[in-house]
Amino acid sequence: MKFYNPHNKIGGYNALYAGLAIIIVSAATGSLLNIHFNGNLQVALLPDRGFLFVLAEHVAPWLVYSFLFFIFGRLLSKSRIRLVDVAGAFALARFPFLLIVLTGVIGGRNEILAKLMLLAVQQSNSATENVLSGGDITFIVLYVAFLLAVFIWFIALLFHGYRISCNLEGTKLIVSFIVGIIVSEGLSQLLIQYIYSH
């Protein structure tokens, strides 16, 4: 099983159950460590809002992506597409998020990132507090590289999940995938904003 394409070996209900387990564990751990995802392509630190809130942040984009790409698959593919295959593949694709959540156990991580955010906000006020040390900067560079690698892995998992669950290839696959990511992320953001406001 290739790490960027497990979908040849695991799909359908098996992938769905495994993916839901990943989502629940990510939400539970994220809720404890104050790490959550306001969309599929953004990670943030926030005061704890409770497990259900964090869970909703994982489930909402997963559902939006699954339904939208399922519709694309039904329109574009000559095969009989099942929603469970698309939803399962996309749930499984969320495994890399669990790794991001687990970085919350790194000592000092939250403090360094909080310093960075505060510095970005205070830049225009030329405040000299919260200056980052050399070690902080090294950590940030490595952490950003790690986040980038994880997001690329997530996109690769989504792509192969879509390709195999909808049996698409070539230009149809690539164009619909790019359009799907953009539209899904937009819709996910709207849904998450709705969750924030309630």
Binding site: H7, N8, K9, I10, G11, A15, S79, R82, A89, I164
Partner: protein, 94 residues
Amino acid sequence: MKKKLPANCPSCNSRLSVKSLICESCETQVSGIYNLPLLGSLNDADQEFIIDFVKSSGSLKLMAKQMNLSYPTVRNRLDEIINRIKEIQNVNNK
């Protein structure tokens, strides 16, 4: 050594036809021009897949379990074979 029945001409890649058949027990020979059976025109892997499909009573779920592959992967493989069969039928009908 296992011999593979060729389906296409090695020279011009056209579909091959059967010209003669022989009975191994009485050495009777039958000559004519016969089309290769459609299933015989598929490669070994496709033929094995079809046999496994029939033995699984047409259950892709069961096949996926036996082949240790995901259901969508097995379904996609079946769709590829269906397309190849349609291509062969189109060529045979011309």
